[in-house]
């Protein structure tokens, strides 16, 4: 008991308990604008800044800016969704795909495209995707809790999520196989994942959804920290654990479904960006949520720039680039830094 006699309570307590490396944040804040400007220089028309005085150059620049914004939004959405799912399920494998959320959103979007709702009703794509994602989440949650008496266990959630997800993708396959040639083209094009700017009103609503979802997740951040100690402990600490879980799942579903509706099925981002961010900056969600949003957005924007440039004029699906570029990088991080992200 002698050890602490020289330690007095000081007002510097706040700094002495600070939990995040300032150097890394600084590096991050320098790297992000650099990478983003780099991605503005890349495009199928050449790796240079286009001539901004000519109307063509201007149009190219606006197109690139638009795609940059799309990439930022979608990447941020998928990453934050992954962060929230991993925290609530306390499981490193959790991501939008695992809970069936992406699959549900994909099914909704496919139906909207094939049954002609997209051209008939404005905004039907994101709304339909979100609604079917929420319906899928309820279904997964309902099935999982039925088996375990009220509160679903993580394992039953993940299991039923994976199964529902598989059912959704089979249904998508079925719908695609029955589709007309024109519908088929639309669906495949959407499904491969691309960041072509959507119509203006859809873009506006989607960014509204995504930004509010991320903001919601950030507000929940300190509660998510508590929740990683388990539902029971969070309850004892005066946190309404069930409310946080439901709110978190809704935020994560909203962002993931919207991302799927505007950009199709882009895999990997929701899984690896949270892990890499956590490995770099630690698991405190008050930092993790914004950092994963910025990091994931930048990652996807840069991947998109590569996707449209490398084999120009052919455009590679951005999902291919995220997996091919992100995979090895992720494995490298996994080897070296996993200890500062997950233990066990």
């Amino acid at each position: 008991m002698k050890k602490y006699q020289d330690t007095t309570v000081r007002s510097t307590a706040m700094r002495r308990l600070s939990t995040i490396s300032g150097t890394r944040i600084a590096l991050f804040l320098v790297a992000v604008p650099l990478l983003l400007s780099l991605s503005l220089l890349l495009g199928p028309t050449g790796t240079m800044l286009p001539d901004l005085d000519s109307p063509v150059g201007k149009a190219i620049m606006i197109l690139r800016l638009n795609r940059l914004v799309m990439g930022l939004l979608v990447g941020a959405a998928l990453s934050v969704s992954g962060v929230v799912f991993q925290a609530i399920l306390r499981n490193p494998l959790a991501e939008p795909y695992v809970l069936g959320v992406s699959g549900g959103a994909g099914l909704g979007a496919t139906m909207a495209i094939l049954f002609g709702a997209v051209s008939a009703i404005p905004l039907s794509l994101p709304v339909m995707a979100f609604m079917s994602a929420v319906a899928t989440l309820f279904l997964v949650y309902g099935i999982a809790s039925r088996g375990s008496g009220g509160v679903p266990s993580v394992y039953s959630l993940i299991l039923s999520g994976v199964i529902i997800s598989a059912i959704c993708s089979s249904l998508i396959m079925f719908l695609v196989s029955m589709a007309s040639v024109e519908g088929l083209h639309n669906v495949i094009w959407w499904m491969l994942g691309n960041l072509q700017p959507a119509p203006a009103n859809q873009r506006f609503v989607s960014s509204l959804f995504i930004v509010s979802g991320i903001a919601g997740a950030w507000l929940l951040a300190s509660r998510l920290n508590s929740l990683t100690l388990g539902r029971e402990m969070a309850h004892y600490q005066g946190i309404n654990a069930d409310a946080v879980i439901v709110a978190g799942l809704l935020c994560a579903t909203l962002t993931a479904a919207t991302a799927v509706s505007i950009a199709g099925m882009i895999g990997f981002v929701g899984l690896i960006v949270p892990h890499v961010t956590r490995a770099m900056f630690g698991p405190d969600h008050r930092w993790l949520v914004p950092l994963a949003a910025v990091g994931g957005g930048t990652f996807l924007a840069v991947c998109d720039a590569f996707a449209r440039t490398v084999l120009a004029p052919i455009e590679i699906p951005v999902g291919v680039v995220t997996a091919l570029a992100g995979g090895p990088f992720f494995l490298l991080i996994l080897q070296r830094k996993m200890k500062s992200a997950w233990i066990g």
């Binding site: 008991m1 050890k3 602490y4 330690t7 309570v9 007002s11 307590a13 706040m14 002495r16 308990l17 939990t19 925290a87 306390r90 499981n91 490193p92 008496g149 009220g150 507000l219 929940l220 300190s222 509660r223 920290n225 508590s226 990683t228 100690l229 388990g230 029971e232 402990m233 309850h235 004892y236 600490q237 005066g238 946190i239 309404n240 956590r278 630690g282 698991p283 405190d284 008050r286 200890k339 500062s340 992200a341 997950w342 233990i343 066990g344």
Partner: protein, 418 residues
């Protein structure tokens, strides 16, 4: 109820389809140090969960400082009661300081982050539990004792007025266990914090607590100061085994221990017991008598009977008849010779039919030879012979000096007396 910290008023609680706490009422005064004891599965953890509103009582009410815990907001509840569970794990790599910060989360709403005074509380509770030097270490890499102190710091950072610990110290080594106990005792004394400690260690509970609450099967069996609760009679009944309670005249502490030397203490008069059983009624008898150091024989049993299997596994000498057939003369003769070697004959609550009625003759012979014969009560319910022959025989045996036994615990005590 002014200074009652925690009140249970006729609480019935449990899980889906299973009531664990049965009409439970008790009161803990503010500033008390209570130890909650009782055998595994008696409802101690359920009681903790109910007190912290994790479980809703089916009936009855729980009050924290006079307020119904169900009507409380989670944040205000956490300011009154803090719970240290058996084990807390975080899958992510939080540092010890980050873990402790969670204790202040609920108090600082979602809009406002932690304020200066929150950090002061965090640091103070880390100093109190002596974990400040661990603040940058990963929580999951700390030793068990360190983790437990970090969790304690986290719960203290809630600044609750009652703290409940659920066997949290059971798996710590003696040094760390006493370190945590010293911390608890200190906050109990200095901050008037009410402490409820769930523990398996009866001696330790007696040493540290002002008052013990002994639970069994979801009810309170006894409560009061350690010397009133830790009585061999009560403990023996609750834990269903023989326990020794010793008081140290110098320090006044109470020491409770089980009895290990039974095997040696029975080297004297009774060393063989013959048991008449069947259908699984003998298993517990064989086990208990063998543990008490008796030589055990049994028979006649049918082969493949569950008692026959148990007897074989326990190395009990057995006389067997063919499976599913009536006991014949040959087997009976062997059993009679075997029983003649024993000093005591015990009849289990085996159902008696025409097939095994002959076994009762072993008891008659034993009585004639002047041996002790014990018969399980309730022969009428398990007599399946025509014309109630078994019940009639037992009546005669009792008239001739056989005795009735009801619980195994009492039987053992009686045998020990003689």
């Amino acid at each position: 109820m002014e200074n009652a910290a925690l009140t249970f008023d006729k609480v019935k609680a449990g899980y889906k389809g299973r009531i664990v706490l049965d009409d439970l009422s008790f009161r803990v005064q503010e500033g008390e140090f209570i130890s909650l004891i009782g055998p595994n599965g008696c409802g101690k953890s359920t009681l903790l969960k109910t007190a912290a509103a994790l479980l809703r009582p089916v009936e009855g009410r729980v009050f924290l400082f006079g307020k119904d815990v169900r009507s409380m907001r989670p944040v205000s509840r956490a300011k009154l009661i803090g719970v240290v569970p058996q084990k807390v794990e975080s899958p992510m790599a939080y540092t010890a300081a980050q873990i402790v910060m969670n204790g202040r989360t609920a108090a600082s709403g979602p809009w406002r982050g932690l304020a200066e005074e929150d950090y002061v509380v965090i640091e103070r509770s880390m100093i109190y539990t002596n974990v400040l030097h661990l603040k940058d270490r990963y929580f999951m890499e700390l030793s068990g004792g360190e983790q437990q102190r970090v969790i304690l710091a986290m719960v203290l950072a809630q600044e609750p007025r009652i703290i409940m610990l659920d066997e949290s110290i059971a798996h710590l080594d003696i040094n760390h266990r006493y370190e945590v106990l010293r911390i608890l005792k200190r906050i109990n004394r200095e901050e008037r914090m009410t402490v409820v400690l769930v523990s398996h260690d009866l001696s330790l509970s007696a040493e540290i607590a002002d008052r013990l609450i002994l639970m069994s099967d979801g009810r309170i069996v006894s409560e009061g100061p350690p010397e009133e609760v830790l009585v061999p009679d009560i403990l023996g009944r609750v834990y269903d085994c023989e326990l020794k309670v010793q008081r140290d005249p110098v320090t006044g502490t109470t020491h409770v221990s089980g009895i290990l030397e039974g095997i040696n203490s029975h080297s004297g008069a009774h060393n063989t017991v013959h048991i008449i059983a069947g259908g699984g009624t003998g298993i517990e008898l064989y086990r208990r008598f063998a543990l008490q150091g008796f030589r055990v024989t049994t028979g006649v049993l049918n082969g493949m009977d569950s008692d026959a299997e148990a007897a074989r596994a326990l190395g009990v000498d057995t006389v067997l008849e063919k499976p599913f057939s009536a006991i014949g003369d040959e087997a009976y003769q062997k059993a009679s010779e075997m029983a003649a070697q024993a000093e005591i004959l015990v009849l289990s609550d085996v159902p008696i039919g025409s097939g095994n009625l002959i076994n009762l003759r072993l008891a008659e012979e034993a009585l004639k030879a002047g041996k002790e014969v014990w018969i399980a009560e309730g022969i009428n319910e398990r007599d399946y012979t025509d014309g109630k022959q078994a019940a009639f025989t037992v009546q005669q045996l009792l008239a001739d000096g056989a005795r009735i036994w009801i619980s195994l615990h009492d039987l053992m005590k009686e045998l020990k007396k003689n």
